[in-house]
Every structure is written in structure tokens, then in C-alpha cells.
Amino acid sequence: MDDMDRRIINELQDGFPVTERPYAEAAKQLQMDEDELIERIGKLCKDGTLNRFGPMFNAENLGGAVTLAAIRAPENRFDEITDMVNAHPEVSQNYAREDDLNMWFVIATETPGRLSKVIAEIEYETGLEVFDMPKIEEFYVGLRFAV
């Protein structure tokens, strides 16, 4: 990764135009050629520096429902409970965290009604209370990974 790559990553985290020749426009800002910009973005995607390049979708605005849930998994049952939770296809992400509440997962369903069913199923299967923490308000974030 050289200086030019860093400028591309820093610049293109903020947004990309919807126009006839968007790469040419972005390239002009970055003072490089359209072809070179396209080639470098492709390379950064291929080598894993970028997870992707394109539209970032907001699943919730597509009619589904999402929540963040946490449980206290006893250490001696941690793996078993991990399997039980992960077996649900609606669980899209699951993290072990250092806390009393030591397992945190995201549940995403096609309908809001399905969400409470998945939570009830996990509580029944594990015998543990699921702390349901759906977002009440989302705040705008300004994060950009500076490189």
C-alpha cells in the first residue's frame, strides 16, 4: 500500500458519486487517472485491504428487523451454547466478550414478529435469559479509518 492507495481509502470512505463517469470524477479529486483509480480499487479489494467497494445497504430499511442480544453463558457450557445460538440462521454475528454478559449476537429477521420467536427459542434451548437490546435511536457517526 503506497501513498496513493492511502489517499484513495481515506477519500472514498466518505462517498462516491452517482453520475455517468463517477470514477473519472473521483479520480480528478485525487489527481490521478480514471484508469489508474479503477485498477487500484480492484487491487485493494483483491488483496483484502477493502472489504468491498460499492453501496452500503441498511438492512432495517429493507423491511426486516434487527436486534442486539446478550446472554450469560456459563464457562463450562460456552461451546455448547455457542452452537445452539449459531444454529439459528437469523443470528448473523456473534462475539465473545469479556463481561458478565459474555456472548453478544445480532439477530436479523425478515419480519419483526419472527424476532421475538427466535429470542424465545434461544431462551428455551439454552435455559438462559436473553437480554434483548434493540436500538432505540441511532446516532450519526463520523468514523473514518485514517491510514
Binding site: 452500503m56 430499511n61 432505540i136 457517526v141
Partner: protein, 166 residues
Amino acid sequence: MSQKATGPMIDDTDRRLINATEEGLPLCPKPYHALAGELDLSADEVMDRMRAMLDNGIIRRIAAVPNHYKLGYTANGMSVWDVPDAVISLAGAKVGALDFVSHCYHRPRHMPEWPFNLFAMVHGHDRNEIEEKVETISEVLGPWDGGHRVLYSTRILKKTGFRLVA
């Protein structure tokens, strides 16, 4: 309010556009024209629909999404805060505006075990950096910081990519 029952309306053509760009935007000089060709639409329609989805929040933005591990941001801590309910929106706006916070949400407390109602994900190169940043959040909140904690992730147990809700 735990969920949104109805989002903005999208139709079949929008779904086809979403599916076609899930992997990313085509890497060619006229990417929206390329999508138009693939989906048998006009380029103007593709661009109009992309702009509409940007406006109504179905697309947050069109952008490069860096792999933060690859960029050296290997530590992440979920900081959780007990903030007075009366000021939660203002507090969330202030914390979210910090340039090292990647997600910032108001979530429900679960008393008595869980008094925290503001969540802010903090990224850094190591735990020391996270601790410093959490201290900065505490300073920003001032008297509104009624107690906080940082939950470090120790393992990813499951991670699946974005999937379009059918």
C-alpha cells in the same frame, strides 16, 4: 420501539439492483451503465433509483469499506454508558461525532443488571489506545457519565455477510 415494521418501499427492480451490487459496484468507467446493461434498464433509471435509495436511507452511502484489521485497527471495544434519559439524544450525537466511534446507539437498560443505555463502538490499534479514547468520551459526557464499562471482544463466534431480506 424494537423494530421497524415497514421501511421505505422498494420494488422488484430495486431488489434486482441491490442483488446486482451486493458484491460491489462494477469496476469500469461507466458502472451505472454497466448495471443498466446487465439488468436491461436505462442508465438514467439505474442512477435515479440509486439516488432515491441514497435519499431514503436504504443505501447509507456508496463507498470504500476498509478491512480495519488489515489497516492495523486490531482492537475494538464496545463501550457502554449510563446516561440520563433526558439527555440521551444530545449525548449520543456528541459521542457519535467523535472520529473513532464507528457505531453509536441508544439501547434499553435492563435493570438492575444492566444500567447502560448508550453504546459506542471504539476502534484502535491496541487496548491502551481504546482506553484513552474511552477517557475522551467520558470527558465529552462530563456529568452525564453515570458509569461506564468497556467490553472487549475476545473471539468472533459467527460472522455472515449482508444478505438481502427476501
